[in-house]
Symmetry: C2
Subunit: 391 residues, 2 copies
């Protein structure tokens, strides 16, 4: 992968401080996600039998990361289909129920009592007539959570999430790795990519991350928004994962870096105008797949009266979308936005692992410099209390 | 539909000014979208034959509105499937090509030379072996555009977009109404909903819209962001349509109201923390479907150790998602955000038409008070020039 910063910035003191704080989290084992590449290796040889679809019952941190990876790779590898039961939206649930033929269910909740997840789980129990000891029903949760206790009572297989791994940082734990392993992919490659990026970071070989973190944290009042422009439709769930990661981690104590996710080139036709001529105050990150490994071409056809479009004739679609990315990037750099670019040479499992670890460490580094607790989410508790009182 | 403002605001001068400017646009016929409910009636009896899927080749304003409506209604009405070829992403295109069996194609471009659209069109011509005079190939474009001239040369049926209707305001023109009519729905109900809202607005019966517009425009420096929280997965494309409508219309001359779209209850698990404890400076709009017309219930099951979740037992999922909306709304009102709520009693074609017209007039009203040209998009031109020089 390649990381390019198109803005000039150095703050050695802040970069050093961020590095040391992140290092402390890592070495003290206080924060668990750094260690998942080793921890999750044990899932590499899991085998599940007699099913057609992997069905995830989970929301937020229990589904977004898995969905990101699945959407990026599903067209590339011959893997089982995944279906995500996330939202307690009756129309969405009914549509998805009708697609489930021969499922392997994973009920995923860190706390083990997420109301949406358990409600959907109850409906699934009834609809699919699940019983104690069901072989096609697996549980992923924290050790000793109510959901684990239930699983023991029901004689179900349980995979644990380490207590010191937060939901939005959990994709490389059992949360993502076990269901993705069930689809048939080689999760060791994802873990390897994550591990090697982490190691290079702690060997001080990824200074760009610290520069970017320092810039974002020291200038959050001038640039309270980070826009991700991801150039491929298959990065759609990834941008949502990034929105959760930044949003829940970095919006606290009256401070924030608000994540906004967009898909290129589609959103050049929607959001670009506002970037070009609005109020500014945003950093912009381009996420790009250099090599789609796909030869699809724009045919060399000359259509009468449409000759003006012939300049792309014979080019691959990959070239078109990537040149659009470059053109938009250059237009925004010319407007003096702090722009950076994250480039996946190819869409490999290794690169996906690296991308995830990059974003997680970036979030930790920014949070440490904002002097906030990156890992909690006290703001969402009050809504849960209000909800309970409405029934 | 119901519209509730949970903030106290009145600015009679600004409200009057917005009303008069919008009225002038409407009466002078300078801006065309207000008149589409009458204009598009002529499409109501269109019949298309011998096809299974409606395939849209278009991007931005040529697809988002149609997709919004389609996603909202596809589970409710027995209509033909729609497939959207939008992004020049080779992986996405190949996946969608493989789903096309017996298509009716609509190539949609207002300017008639959108590079993504024409490039994909060329690939479609080759892949599906389309010829001059093809009966399953229709063109939707501005009068006298290069694409219309091509269509005449190729002997294809053409539907025109009125010149004074901008792309992002065009869903009620041929752009949306012709392909949606082709799926089999009764577009007159959509047009009726839009017309009646417009008429009530000009009869001064929708003052809430002007209050909201005045508040947004007069406070854009304090609240430069509007977050839409739409409570149903089927509103996903609608929130993208809204992002284009606000983003391209209201980001100009160093001013902006940045649209951010989220889906409830999923994004309560991602973005809510930042709203609760971040920097504020956002208005928040809740979009809610009161009656999903779906009886799906959370079964009355008592799971050992999960008794804490029993408070929702026996409730419909509709009740759960709507109570979540209420709880989140109340939590954000308590944080003194300027919150408002748009409620569709049911998901009917009539209400969808009203919702679209509401958002379009709201955009016009805000733009008029920001003293910007709501209808152009000069900021996106430079990227197109840069792109051309890259080939």
């Amino acid at each position: 992968m390649e990381y390019k910063l198109y803005f000039d910035y150095e703050n050695k003191k802040a970069q050093k401080e961020a590095y040391e704080r992140v290092l402390k989290e890592y070495e003290s084992q206080e924060i668990g996600y750094y260690h998942l590449p080793e921890h999750s290796k044990k899932f590499k040889n899991l085998k599940f039998k007699n099913f057609e679809e992997v069905v995830i019952i989970g929301i937020g941190g229990s589904s977004l990361g898995t969905k990101s990876i699945y959407e990026m790779i599903k067209n590339k590898y011959p893997i089982k289909k995944m279906i995500f039961l996330e939202n307690p939206d009756p129309i969405d649930l009914e549509t998805k129920f009708s697609q489930i033929k021969n499922p392997l269910f994973f009920v995923i909740s860190k706390s083990g009592k997420t109301i949406e997840t358990i409600s959907i789980f109850k409906k699934v129990i009834k609809h699919f007539n699940l019983q104690k000891g069901a072989k096609n029903l697996k549980i992923i949760t924290d050790p000793s959570s109510p959901l684990e206790k239930f699983a023991i009572e029901w004689d179900l297989e349980v995979f644990n999430i380490p207590k010191n791994v937060g939901g939005r940082f959990s994709v490389l734990s059992a949360v993502g790795m076990v269901p993705l392993r069930a689809t048939g992919i080689d999760i060791t490659k994802i873990l390897q990519g994550a591990k090697e990026f982490r190691d290079r970071f702690f060997e001080k070989k990824e200074e760009h991350l610290l520069k970017k973190a320092a810039f974002y944290a020291r200038n959050y009042k001038i640039y309270p928004v980070n826009v991700m422009f991801a150039y491929s439709t298959i990065l759609n769930a990834f941008k949502e994962w990034y929105v959760q990661l930044f949003g829940e981690s970095l919006g606290k104590n009256g401070k924030e870096i608000m994540p906004v996710g967009h898909i290129g080139s589609i959103d050049q036709h929607s959001f670009l105008q506002l970037l070009m001529e609005g109020m500014g105050h945003k950093t912009i990150t381009f996420l790009k797949i250099q090599d789609f490994e796909n030869p699809l071409k724009i045919p060399n056809i000359n259509l009468p009266f449409l000759e003006e479009t012939n300049f792309v004739n014979g080019a691959t679609f990959e070239k078109l979308i990537n040149k659009e990315e470059e053109a938009t990037k250059e237009a925004l750099i010319a407007k003096e936005y702090p722009v950076d670019e994250v480039i996946l040479e190819k869409l490999t499992l290794y690169n996906i692992g690296e991308l995830i670890m990059y974003y997680e460490i970036l979030t930790s580094a920014i949070g440490s410099l904002l002097d906030i607790n990156t890992y909690n989410q006290p703001g969402v508790e009050i809504g849960k209390v209000i909800l309970k009182n409405k029934f």
